[in-house]
Symmetry: D2
Subunit: 336 residues, 4 copies
């Protein structure tokens, strides 16, 4: 819309779009407002739209994702969770905690240690996506309650994964950020249910998803009016064949500068799942920061031998402290 377009002109445009069975997204800017069209744009005569009063320009975005593209939102989005700000020019944020919440005591003990080590946010799983039905599946609502309690106690905003559409409401009640895991990247109904909670979404890339495809699904979150999206690279599965792979997944750092270029959202990485090996977490964390990541998500356990899941990749708290210190140095080096 033109700067100074009237509310009436704006309403006319919105009504016109909706009358074709399309939905809209509106970005209110300091100087002017932008209206995004959701749906098949062939349903509307763009020339007619262009002719309406108050319309400055009608732009067709060529990529399959529109609402999450830099063409639509040019300025960096900063996601705020409690007092923590992620994205833009803010220093990197560290999200740490155990893979699974095993008990309130365990979460509190580890939470305190990751806070001392410098982490700003607390992670912990209550609903675990597991390959085998015969493994530990998470504590469910009990785990969510522990997460809320520990988060409040330690003044740390919390992140936890939501796996089932049926659990979206309870997760949104107890946690500050809803995580959508890699295996659910394509689960469009879950994405939309999470988006509607208006909570910030930590949205992981699927492990065989191309960047275009990943952003097309982020689009589904944005299309429900939720722009509080943290994009997260967590490893892809590239190598097959004749030998045992040296790493379970391959953390794809190329995604970091690419996503920052294509979209305005903060981009973080998960070197713990992305490599599956404790000894690779620190080097890949430093590399993440060096190529521009806005944050890191790190699995920590103080008694890895007792962990009920993902023990092979969990750092001990003192290693997290070293990781945060070294990443801080890399961040300062690239910010000069």
């Amino acid at each position: 819309m033109k700067p100074g377009a009237s509310p009436k002109e704006m309403a006319r445009v919105l009504k016109t779009i909706k009358s074709r069975g399309l939905r809209t997204d509106t970005m209110f800017g300091e100087f002017q407002n932008v209206i995004g069209i959701i749906g098949d744009e062939k349903k509307i005569d763009l020339e007619f739209l262009r002719s309406l009063a108050g319309v400055q320009e009608v732009i067709t975005i060529q990529v399959p994702y529109r609402l999450v593209s830099r063409s639509y939102i040019s300025r960096d989005i900063v996601v705020k969770v409690g007092g923590v700000e992620i994205g833009g020019d803010h220093p990197p944020v560290f999200i740490a905690g155990p893979c699974s919440i095993e008990s309130c005591e365990q979460l509190h003990r580890i939470g305190r240690k990751v806070k001392e080590a410098g982490a700003q946010m607390l992670r912990g799983g209550a609903y675990k996506p597991r390959t085998s039905i015969h493994s530990f599946q998470g504590l469910g609502v009990a785990g969510l309650k522990h997460l809320k309690e520990v988060g409040q106690d330690l003044s740390m905003p919390t992140v936890t994964e939501v796996r089932s559409e049926f659990d979206v409401k309870s997760v949104a009640k107890f946690a500050d950020v809803l995580q959508i895991g890699a295996r659910n990247m394509y689960n469009q109904d879950l994405l939309e249910a999470c988006a509607k909670t208006k909570k910030p979404i930590l949205f992981k890339r699927g492990f065989s998803a191309q960047i275009d495809e990943y952003l097309s699904f982020a689009e589904r979150i944005a299309a429900h009016g939720n722009k509080q999206i943290l994009l997260c690279e967590r490893g892809i599965t590239p190598l097959g064949g004749s030998f045992k792979p040296a790493t379970r997944f391959t953390l794809d750092l190329n995604a970091v500068p690419l996503l920052k270029k294509e979209t305005p959202f903060p981009v973080i990485t998960d070197p713990s799942h992305g490599t599956g090996r404790r000894d690779l977490v620190i080097p890949m964390s430093k590399a993440s920061i060096a190529c521009g990541a806005h944050g890191l998500m790190i699995e920590v356990h103080d008694r890895p031998d007792e962990a009920l899941s993902d023990a092979a990749q969990a750092l001990e708290p003192q290693d997290l402290a070293r990781l945060i210190k070294e990443c801080g140095e890399v961040y300062r080096a690239i910010s000069r």
Copy 2:
């Protein structure tokens, strides 16, 4: 259990297993019964179990899938839907219809033609998993009603995809077989919700899933007591890099003999999605039958230019007739 083990002995074993926080699955055989343990078997002392009255043997299954393995169920499972039988030594079953249900008239028109061509079951999507939120998303419940009506009219059992946990009940009400799509293979909550309906499940392999992983998720269906599973190979995404791939997906026929060896369930293929190209559907259908597939799922549209989705891979009805005829000849050749 030993042949002739008493109900009391069996109850004792079941109780013992459950007392350790594990669940059970029971197969009632003609001569003897078999009890499967669901959960982490380290929680139970197998020696103690072995010592209980009525127990013949305690076997540990090494693969991550137990209930769907040939070690647990050795005889072929035949899935019956309406009058149609799929699996074992039955001739191949052809499931055909449009990608999306676009209207009752469209489904009826195409349904009649695929039936005349020789198809036994009718497919059609009401909830479409789509990469782009800007594309056609399916007719929803209205589509399900069309499917039921047309299926009854033509006396063809029906298959349709369920995408959201919230829709499981309504899909189960209107369709004969619930399809879980490739993008939902890892969606364990959806799998479990579908399993509980006790309807037959057409369970597609994820497009980057290894066989072990695929079967570990089929295990989640079986663990809810549902053994009416149709496994379906629908193409993997193998090739990356420097050139436009010649096919969108790669139908992995190696999966057919492998799955038949590892599990007792019927195995079908979907050459339409598995190749994404009309000109490859017939050769890959014949190849599927030649390596042992129990059935095929084929997309058909009589006006491909008007199709709202997947037009590039839909066969016309006369091509389906040729496909069914030629596959029949291949089937007879391998059955001699």
Copy 3:
């Protein structure tokens, strides 16, 4: 060129093309001749070429492979080796033998058995491409001599792999068909050296090569005037990640109809290397024939436990006999 174009007109066209630093390929047809340009066509003014006497048409081929495309050679090419004809409408040809030539006695013994089983051509490796330098590397020239001797004795044309440019001449001296292995698909100098021998080339697809890329390298063989090319699908490496793959490679049968559509050359498959598992060889052989393969290459060993390489995938001679019989039935079914 126009039908009836004079040799002088043809010479003028050839000279014009060469004067721009380009090379040519000429196809002499029954009615008219076709000239292919090798090199960057931007170096020549196509309008000028079109204006020369005797020129009927100047066609630009859009795919990156020109000389091997159906646009350039529309009719099926039949490759003749000794009395054996492969391609076009000829029934499938079976090429069988041990992975490695271990001794003259071993090759003769196995060769006799595969001939009795119905194989028309004999294979055996003298130069083995091996991942580990610590494994058996092949008998070299001694092996080539055994191959020639046994081939003559049994009246079977022979195929063997050439791995080093330095060995091209000796392999061409002793064997009837030169095989270029999957790992050498990109080895353009080896391809060109083999092409120049004018011997038929069995050219395997690389295990991570897309079809366009594969044909661009086949183009290098054709560009040296050698059109006796057998294309061979031998398995790709698609699946990575978290579990041990169920098969080492994935035989990509989609390649068979695709290659037959794009090029005039015979297409065969290698289910032995393509699956790496003995129990999958027969089903995947039948599937290969069902989707149109012109031949199969099968590893056979009569004492698999003693084989110096690839024992896990070698069939025993009696299994080869069954394979050939069953593939014959599938072939007759699809040829009706």
Copy 4:
């Protein structure tokens, strides 16, 4: 061997090993010598070997690569080329220059600029591995001569790719480091021919090779007594399927810490080929240094629009200067 083992004792051990048809590799250390066995160790009785005079220990290395493993060579290897040292604790080395040598003037012009920007070594291709036979193939020996002349003029050691076994000698005559490209990683005969020149080898990882496989081929270089190996990660091809990939290859930085852990050799990366996009080269270079790379190989062209190959990924000289400065800062940050 024991510290102080006599030359006679050592000779006895070497003779024993060779008498079994095996080859040997000897590492002469400050305090003691180590003998590596090349070939199938089952051919020798390790107990007997252990009993020989002067033998301290007989160790079996479980990985398929022995001579390149940290178990065999524990201390970092530093490769020296002219005055440049790569590996160990040396600061990162920058190898830069054009993709293809197009003329002596072009190479000299670009060479001078990359030297001013801070690069220590000069790269330029004379034999280009190309997918299409219709593209520019390199200047061959003329290019090698330009490389030598410019390298001497600018006092920069030179690197160039050798593609054919027939060219190994002439490349070794003109260049300081022989590069083996990704497409030739499996070309064992080329590897062995290069190893025998005793020149340092820049050995690139194949774009679908797992780490174990890559090192098994590095083993072939080491087994010919050449330990001057620069390992180089240059991008893998992980993503296929339904959309145009955002990057041509995926630079796999996980390989850097992994290779440094498994082997003593210097590890460098090639972000130019590894991403194929100019805008990703600087961020991925900084990430490479942050996770421990010993050097970088960067394509530079001062007139990208005129470049005969790989224009889309070449940096301009002023960008290289920025890259080197910023990487230096990251290096200092991680070295504190």
